[in-house]
């Protein structure tokens, strides 16, 4: 997954020289906006970042982020999805691309744009043309059988976040089973448990994002290094 197809003639996005676009999807009420706010607080001092929200009906999510003052207003953009949140992140990503490009233009040094999807069902999946990486958020109160049911979001996201673990004893959810079931459908891709009430910094998710950015910078560096060696060889011959 991702936009780093160096030789892809159909590449929909610019692979280098722009911010990493991170999609955050998941069902209504799973905690996407609270996670986005926590990530902004955790990462804003080390990364140049911005957020696009895909509100279903209002600009409530964007308003929440502004009210919480996690970022300055000019770094938060709300997109309307015409009653089809999954269309806006998958089939027709133009409004989100427009928003990302406008943010990038306003803040040319951006490292990371978080694109938060509107609350959707388990089949929601971000297009590779929009998101370089994607996180799917479930909450334990939504039913501990959800990871077993799978779905595109649960199975294919680069990171699965099982959120609100503090509620597990209250709603009788079996966290160990959720973790095992998720592992089975995800083929080894990472799963983290989070509780913003107990760990408001979303430490596990923030650490994963740092890792992604580090790996990309490293890959890019290797790539440049390889080019440099080719140039040296060409010059020597």
């Amino acid at each position: 997954m991702g936009a780093n197809h160096d030789h892809d003639p159909y590449a929909a996005t610019r692979p280098h020289g722009r911010a990493l676009r991170l999609g955050i999807g998941g069902p209504v009420g799973s905690g996407k906006t609270a996670l986005t706010a926590a990530l902004c607080r955790a990462l804003r001092d080390e990364l140049d970042l911005a957020v696009v929200t895909n509100d279903i009906y209002t600009t409530e999510d964007a308003d929440f982020l502004r009210r919480e003052a996690v970022l300055s207003d000019d770094r938060i953009t709300a997109v309307r999805t015409g009653a089809c949140p999954h269309t806006a992140i998958r089939d027709d990503i133009s409004a989100n691309l427009d928003a990302c490009e406008a943010l990038q233009e306003r803040h040319p040094g951006l490292d990371l744009i978080i694109v938060e999807s509107g609350g959707d069902n388990l089949t929601a999946l971000f297009s590779q043309g929009l998101a370089d990486r994607q996180i799917f958020v479930l909450d334990v109160a939504g039913g501990d059988d959800v990871p077993r049911k799978g779905g595109l979001g649960v199975a294919a996201a680069d990171l699965l976040v099982i959120n609100k673990t503090d509620l597990a004893p209250l709603v009788g959810s079996d966290l160990a089973m959720m973790g095992r079931d998720a592992g089975k459908v995800r083929g080894g891709k990472p799963v983290v448990f989070s509780s913003l009430r107990e760990r408001p910094g979303a430490d596990e998710v923030a650490a994963w994002i740092r890792g992604v950015l580090h790996d990309l910078a490293h890959e890019h560096g290797e790539h440049e290094h390889e080019h440099g060696r080719e140039r040296e060889r060409a010059a020597a011959s």
Binding site: A12, T81, G82, A83, D92, S94, L97
Partner: protein, 223 residues
């Protein structure tokens, strides 16, 4: 070429249309459209006014692009002059930007490249016309696609906003098809004339709805 034209007219074209209701959402909010007959009336009115204007602009853009299509500022100004509502201008430019991204990814054309320089993004009919020209289509075909989209977009929004029976809405569109063809034929007649004489049919209620929509707290569609 025929299949390319179908791609351009397809509602699945990833050009942002799904988030625009063509003024239907504020009409629904105002209680003016509640059922399929009222939707059909809305579509007929829209087709005769902004549909005709957009189709004629697209036909003119197609003819201009076929001639090389370097300078777009005058047609852009003519479009602004026929779009009194700032909200509708913004919606047209937003859809124009999205369509231009799609069109330039799919079809190589200097006219499309030139449109990219339009401040704020090009108007939607101009891009539709230039995209049609890029695949060798005639102004009449650009007008047909534009007139068709002027009614199919809001019809689809009606299904989503009101839960209308999609079969009944489709029948209403089928009844309207002859009118769509007639509007496209009329619009195509302006393709090679002076731009100042392009039709300027207005729909003041649609303009008011568009402005009111921008100030509404609860809305699903951009326009």
């Amino acid at each position: 070429m025929r299949a390319s034209l179908l791609l351009l007219a397809d509602s699945r074209l990833p050009a942002g249309g799904h988030a625009h209701s063509g003024g239907l959402e504020p009409a629904v909010a105002a209680g003016a459209v509640r059922d399929v007959p009222a939707l059909a009336d809305f579509l007929r009115g829209r087709l005769a006014t902004s549909g005709l204007v957009a189709a004629a602009l697209a036909a003119a853009a197609c003819a201009h692009a076929a001639r090389g299509g370097g300078a777009w500022a005058a047609l852009d100004a003519e479009t602004d002059a026929r779009t009194p509502s700032p909200a509708q201008r913004a919606a047209s430019r937003a859809q124009g930007r999205s369509l231009l991204r799609v069109a330039r990814t799919a079809w190589a054309s200097p006219a499309l490249d030139a449109l990219a320089g339009t401040p704020g993004g090009p108007h939607h009919p101009a891009v539709l016309g230039a995209a049609a020209a890029a695949m060798g289509a005639a102004p009449r075909e650009a007008a047909e696609i534009t007139a068709y989209m002027a009614v199919t977009g809001p019809a689809s929004a009606g299904i989503r906003l009101l839960g209308l029976d999609p079969l009944a809405v489709n029948r209403a569109l089928a009844v309207l098809a002859a009118d769509v063809d007639a509007v496209a034929a009329e619009a195509a007649g302006f393709a090679d004339g002076p731009w100042a004489e392009l039709p300027a049919a207005s729909a003041p209620l649609l303009d008011l709805y568009a402005e009111r929509h921008l100030r509404t707290d609860l809305r699903l569609f951009e326009s």
